[in-house]
Amino acid sequence: MTGFRLRSGGVVDRTRPVSFRWDGTAFTGLAGDTLASALLANGERIVGRSFKYHRPRGVVSAGVEEAGAVVGVGRGARHEPNAKATLVELHEGLTASGQNGWPSVRADIAQFNDLFGRFFAAGFYYKTFIGLGRGTAQWMFFERFIRRAAGLGTASREADPDAYEYVHDFCDVLVVGAGPAGLAAAEACASAGLDTMLVEQDFALGGALTGAAEGVGMTPAADWIAERGGPRDNLRVLTRTTAFGLYDSNVVGCYERVTDHLADPDPALPGGRIRIVRPRRVILATGAFERPVAFGNNDRPGVMLAGAMKTYADRFAVAPGDRVVLATNNDSGYATARTLARAGVETTLLDSRELIGTTEIAEEARAAGIEVMAGYVPVEARGARGVTGLQVGRIAGHGHARPETTLPCDAVGVSGGWSPAFNLVSHRGVRPVWDPDLACFLSGPLDGVGVTGSAAGVWGTADAVAHGEAVAAAAVEALTGRRRRRKEPATGGWRNPIAPLWEVTVKGKKLKSFVDLQNDVATSDVRLAAREGFRSVEHMKRYTTLGMATDQGKFGGVVGLALLAGALDQTIPETGITTFRPPYTPVPIGAFAGRARGQHWQAVRRTPMHDAQAEGGAVFTDAGLWKRAWHHPETPAESLADGYLREARAVREAVGMVDVTTLGKIMVQGPDAAEFLNRVYVNGFAKLPVMKARYGVMLRDDGIVMDDGVTWRLGEHEFLTSTTTANAGAVMAWFEELLQTRWPELRVHVASVTDQWAGIALAGPKARETLEGLLAEGDVSDDALPFMGIVETQVKAGGGTVPAMIARISFSGELAYEVWTRSDWGDALWRALAHEVRMQGGAPYGMEALGALRIEKGHVTAAELDGRVTLEDAGLGRMASTRKAFIGNVLRQRPHLQRGDRPQLAHFRPAEEGERFSIGAIVCAPDGVRGHGEGWITGVTAAPALGGWLGIGFVRGGPKAWEGREVVIADPIRGRETRARVESPHQYDPDGSRMRA
């Protein structure tokens, strides 16, 4: 007989049947069931197949440590692989299926792997496929077959249809886990007036108390839970919420499942929420994991943890069978035995402790109708597809068991002791401490974090409640100073000491005993790892894959390390335990992304002139977060290549305009503003006259060029500094750092005004006439506004006039102006100026034409100033002042940075007309296309005025070193080599007469 639903009891709703489908067959469960409890109630035993041998797997636990019932849930895009059936809340229409079996987990043809098990021991793949002679080629051939046969569930290839969100929570105390200790702690904190949060991963509160007959003191369990878990003002209770990580400063990451359990969720609800909780104190009442014992065929469906049997009977009213054998080495097995006996299950209890037979606890069990077999251990489970019996035996000399009789049974419950779940503390790097009396690791201490209940090694319910209250009192005292200390009950609490039992072996007989049920790691694999020199527990884990399955060692990890310790003949604390890392249980990747997906991945910045340009047909490109006009097609059919050349020629021959709003702008104000800029820039700013602009370059501390831009002096104590678009944020932070950390004596204030100003560069021989058409007042003649001059005036825009600042600055190399106004008027300014430009036969231009013009003129941008380039490399060496100290001046003079054979700025022209080369190509000597070459290309364009193809970049020694010699521009990715000449980067209007016109 397999599992069945008991006639009474449980906290399931017998009036609400729930239909679901398992592996294509319709079943019925009850509201309040998990998928695991519903499958057990329906008598389903084989619910999965193991990873390597495809051995049948049944439900082995009732919680997150589940290693057998690992299933696929949901369909289509909502299919979730590797779900633990013990955590899946049953709902109407739920669809689930077994994994890793074909055609199904019940009849899996790959089970023949099991027959060849001895070939699949730890390290099998490494030994068979990797190494000389055998070769990786063989592995590459076999890999796809092996991967197909060995694997867990398959993820959906569709996009996650669920939305997720982030919630930020703050509280005085966060209690993790709503078992007896957690509920008691939360109640005590809330009663003391603290803002308290209680999170519970389950959908029901109560932990092991849920549905239990025992209760707390005289209060029935259900009443006790309801009294404490009820909502109130300063106690927030969140179920279905897992604390998955404990981080620095005791920040706790939680994942709240919002709709997974609903048959027909409101589409407005998110699938789940990441809750980042920032409590002042944390109390962990995370419980403990019962440990299995390794014995022969201990992975057969029907073998499960004893405590899980108690949970299924108490909470879900499900019995694992008519006849059950329990095997224990500690007192907790007795509570399970009593529960099963009470439910009418014929129960035999093996207790490995020889002397238990005459104790009180054994007498009580016998009185309850339980057969107690003292000194007995499980040897080997019988039955191929599920348990039909259990051979038992007694421990003889040398620690081996002597097999005796076989007890017929439907299920076997095992308790090898309990391991506190201190995983969250481990996330913070705190090493646990082995307690030999309790035979378990206990959490090490951590500031601001209290551990209570069975997570602290306190086993009994009443003790756990008292312990929770004591830990809460300590938190209250720490936060309020109110002293209401209570004595913590001692750890442990069993009447008889535990007798450690990790594995049952029989002399001269090979038993197939498993420690990791998902990854098929047997006890023999652990010993093999030890023999082959994997002495560290971390190495053993990786070699055998013990603890690397989806339960992450929660089920068999401690047993595995105890076996390793035994094989190495050392103690368990000497062997240690692997470090637990977040997340405690899996969290959907989409939840971490939250709302930051699709177009919400990052912000989009548009200039105030964006819409006006878009209406004109502009095509935009990304520059960081900014959208910038790439080109302005004259007709929809005009290509980028045709368009940018037309735009650039308009600038060279008539007039063009470009949106330069994205340039970084920093207001530098104060009596020491000039002194500050003098220290920051390589060139002088102290003597810059008011209403004049100057190009400046700044270095990093190490003497490498950081950024460049034009600074306007607007007053004696007021400068407007511009930066490149890309470096706006970095330069602002740099100014703040210098003023706050290095030069606190300077009376200077800096403010970013990038978003406050909108600007247009107007360039071309007809720029002045164009600008004059825009002026409402003032004068922009060469006398009134000479090169690098600034005027403040009014321009005609938006049907009226708007104030504007105009500076005569040129990036293109033509007569050019920058016109700036308040951001609000940027749109009107663009429209007004665009009209004037068209009247003069000009055109708006975009980034591509801007690049063409500056490459031709030989001006550097961020493409050249890439963090490796010195002033001299960029051809700007003469700008450095010799009369003042400035940032980077000392280290820029390091001998290696002053060598004449460093790569220097140059123009490159194909030797044969019609040839081209690309950005990123390597400049090589004609006989040396290899290695890093002699330089590199940073920009290319069809040259609007000079004609032909033109590149800008760097070459060793600069143009002078290559006079009379050609280079080869190599593009190995495209398989192209182009012969080219190196030329001076200053060949378009070298004396600057055009921009000074």
């Binding site: 981080y247 750092e737 100290a885 001046n889 000392v890 390091r894």
Partner: protein
């Protein structure tokens, strides 16, 4: 997630801050090359307390000198990097 108690803004997540490395005393701009080389390139890598610079870049924009334990990540003292401002703030709180 480190929580850094900013003197202006209170305890805030470290994701609001930009890490600025060790708190280094930079030499005068006209100091010799050795002094600058040491300040720019040579760093200790202590195990334990570490004085470092954090910029509250998504907050009040203050540069802070933070004492952080490199082993436990515990935050010790936090003060404004701007000495006179730090003194003024301390005076205000007295």
């Amino acid at each position: 997630m480190l929580r850094i108690p900013c003197p202006f803004c209170g305890p805030r997540d470290h994701s609001e801050f930009t890490y600025g490395g060790a708190d280094v005393a930079y030499p005068p701009l006209d100091a010799d090359r050795e002094a600058w080389f040491e300040a720019v390139f040579l760093r200790d890598n202590p195990r334990g307390p570490h004085r470092e610079v954090w910029h509250h870049s998504s907050g009040c924009r203050a540069f802070l000198i933070v004492e952080r334990d490199t082993v436990t990540h515990a935050i010790g003292s936090v003060r404004l990097a701007h000495g006179p401002a730090a003194d003024a703030l301390a005076g205000e709180r007295e």
